[in-house]
Symmetry: C2
Subunit: 217 residues, 2 copies
Amino acid sequence: MPFLVSTAIIFLFDVKQATVASSPDQSAHYSEKKQEILAAAARLFRDRGYSATSMRDLAGAVQLKASSLYNHIDSKEDILQAICFSTANKFMTAMKRIEDQPGSYLDKVKALVNLHAEIAAIDLTSIASLNDEWRHLPEPYLSEFLYLRRDYERRFVAILQKGMEEGNIRKLDPQVLFYTILSSVRWLYDWRHKHPQQQAKELPGQITEILLAGVLQ
Amino acid sequence: MPFLVSTAIIFLFDVKQATVASSPDQSAHYSEKKQEILAAAARLFRDRGYSATSMRDLAGAVQLKASSLYNHIDSKEDILQAICFSTANKFMTAMKRIEDQPGSYLDKVKALVNLHAEIAAIDLTSIASLNDEWRHLPEPYLSEFLYLRRDYERRFVAILQKGMEEGNIRKLDPQVLFYTILSSVRWLYDWRHKHPQQQAKELPGQITEILLAGVLQ
DNA sequence: CCTACCGATCGGTAGG
DNA sequence: CCTACCGATCGGTAGG
């Protein structure tokens, strides 16, 4: 099967590799066992969902009894909060950097698409909680999370709008475009789960190409 | 804010309105109360997830006591099964019709994008179970569901591939294109939940346009 | 980090 | 369609 990927787009995509990894990571403050618990929880939450994952399931995954988990975490909700916010903060930090970087707004859009693909590549399981399980956050975390999400969306849409005014991006409803872009990179973590053998780097390039240049010949 | 949508694409999209509604609907076999229960369950499963929805929640939503639900349904899993398969069958029926319809493979691709947008418009809440909650299906339903899903994907990808050979669609990895198309229409039900006032018909046209023609000016 | 255990809630049934 | 109730499992705590 022919497998043609525009080298120009691949180049554009590869410009900013490994920017996420160097961003501040508060998970460094956690003990090794707590990090192990959070990683196992993120995987279970992705595979079964937050509500269908019991503390006994989680304990088994890290070779502990359920009660021993509470030496490392405060509650089940505490785990979800840590997962959701550590990933959300990666996006917010990167957004600030992209807003401040020089270059056209089209460059910023490409950097944002790249960002989503990159975080999906590094932090494969946490994305599931960020996408689907945040609704189980207790207050006041839920409100705080929704605030971050709205803020991120507002700033993303502003960049798209500036790109349209700049003339590099077609004049579509910027919010529709925002959701289309986000949902397109969203399935990356699903895909990589199903096809672990495939080169991860090829995918973001292909998605970016489809979004930028379209499907028609 | 300018809001330009290609009338050509809108036309292409509107060609096949209301094809889903006329497809065979086995929910007609259900009693009125059972249909009410299934509709309420689909809504709760979307908003809270299957596992976080209790039978007491569901009973309250249809003004019954929990035990009375069991005069209409066999089990909680039975409800999930009914929701997932009734929607999955709509997709399979429509796939067969699109395969058999005359016209180019590009036309079939457009009809498929249209199909997803249409089912999302008609059956807003069930799509959530089809996307996210199917994993809670018990066997043998889980295997049967996964079989249907793989079959649908295989047939969709085959159409994309034929379209590429035909020359109307750019030669990309057809499976990557499949996932990109599906994820783009996937958020429709989310969006319509958040913006119930907006004309639903505008959205599929815009998404189709972004996918077909791309983002670049 | 474990054993032992708590009250609350779960899906579901008996019986009318 | 309800009241009353079942065993199982839930998140979490006491105490060592």
